[in-house]
């Protein structure tokens, strides 16, 4: 069998997705046997010019991690789309915006103000901010332009497949790699490397009828390890999150935070979380309802932690 050309790129990401690929351990050798790595900035020394020099469609599969936050991310997203036969949005950031997407509650001005002026650890008496172009004696230096809004990959280019997760679990990555190498890929636009059921369907915890009279935080209370965390009043996004990660968080004693994104048929994970969680609150009186939901101080960031740029409303209106 001919080797495939594989690329992996990080845009606005933490690097965890790349590490997750390495976490397939010795199977990485099987990957190297099946694929030529043609571009992988974190592991292999290829430059952007090398990608630009490729003929269009030269790369068989690109695993694109990270959201699109600046002009460099956008350039590479468009470039890799052109050069790749199959483009995979890999991990929560490329899939729905991910953790960098939380910045959509602010704009560039506010972020720069915080980072370069007002944060307690910043000493910047001259008030210098990064400029896209700076003249120095040797010539002109350029850095990418920072955008107001973080966007998921499919806002800019056509995406063939989505692999959810923050990061995707190594065994799911291996399943995806095998599917790619063997050419047995599902219809375009599918979410691969995950199941079609919700977390709750796959969760080991005991579930009864849910009646919530108050919410607790994992930081200040200890959940009992046999019963559904949501029943105990801990916010868990299991009902509105796609399964396939082997419920790793729940097995580790914490509630699901929703990184695998919405299950099939759900448009907006945060909206669905409101629907699911509000309906099991045990209260029929407006004042009592207010008292209980006051214990969820930040519904947007709790219910849409990994998906604000991919949600229906995309960003905060400022």
């Amino acid at each position: 069998m001919a080797k495939i050309n594989l690329a992996s790129y990080w845009a606005a990401a933490c690097g965890g997705c790349d590490v997750a690929i390495l976490d397939i351990h010795e199977k990485i050798l099987d990957l190297a046997a099946a694929a030529n790595i043609v571009f992988w900035p974190i592991a292999v020394d290829f430059k952007y010019e090398d990608v630009e020099a490729m003929v269009d469609g030269h790369i068989d599969v690109t695993l694109f991690h990270g959201a699109v936050r600046n002009s460099e991310n956008e350039h590479l997203a468009k470039l890799l789309r052109r050069k790749s036969k199959v483009l995979v949005a890999f991990g929560s950031c490329a899939h729905m915006g991910g953790i960098p997407g939380l910045a959509n509650l602010f704009n560039r001005r506010q972020i720069f103000q915080r980072v370069y002026h007002s944060s307690p650890s910043t000493a910047n008496p001259e008030g210098i901010e990064p400029q896209t172009r700076t003249a120095v004696p040797e010539g002109e230096l350029t850095i990418p332009e920072f955008y107001d809004t973080v966007r998921p990959l499919d806002d800019l280019v056509e995406v063939d497949y989505y692999v959810p997760g923050c990061p995707p679990t190594p065994n799911q990555i291996w399943n995806v790699v095998q599917a790619i190498v063997s050419g047995q890929l599902p219809p375009k636009g599918s979410v691969v490397g995950a199941s079609d059921k919700t977390q709750c369907d796959e969760c080991h915890l005991k579930k009864n009828e849910k009646k919530i009279t108050g919410f607790k935080r994992i930081a200040t209370a200890q959940p009992e390890q046999e019963t559904c965390y949501l029943e105990q009043g801990f916010l868990c996004l299991g009902p509105v999150t796609r399964g396939g990660c082997d419920t790793r968080c729940q097995l580790s004693g914490v509630a699901c935070r929703g990184c695998y994104g919405p299950p099939p048929g759900v448009v907006d994970q945060g909206a669905k979380a409101i629907s699911a969680i509000a309906s099991v609150i045990e209260a029929k009186d407006e004042a009592e309802i207010e008292r209980i939901i006051a214990q969820i101080p930040d519904p947007l960031r709790s219910f849409n932690r990994f998906g604000i740029p991919g949600s229906l409303l995309v960003r905060k209106i400022l």
Binding site: I274, I281, I293
Partner: protein
Amino acid sequence: MTFEPKIVGILCNWCSYTGADLAGTARIKYAPNVRMMRVMCSGRVDPTFVMKAFAEGADGVLVAGCHPGDCHYIDGNYKTMRRMALLKKMLAEYGIEPGRFRLEWVSASEGDRWAKVVNQITEDVRKLGPAKFETKKSKRRIPVPAA
């Protein structure tokens, strides 16, 4: 040109829609700004509907159902009460002014109340001006489930 608010109204079949119907048959004059959508119960109103309305250009959204205790399906409107309270909080975090979204109870016999509620939200939204969403520009495709 003066700004005419576009408001999406989601009404329950048994009380509010019938109440709006009564306002019509009683020939009550009220603002024409609410585009009405009938659902069987206000408990059917998924928060997604409200967000989608805003994302697709609504300046305001009005959800109306039976008065608490009067739900045709016993407690559908209590679910709505809880969901919309939580949704209101999330919409505020998205920067949507509280005046743009309302949950109201209107019974089948309250045609005049319906007219009042519509006039009220129309005026509130008119004062706030057009909603400043940019979501229309995004070309998002919703991922299809795996085969």
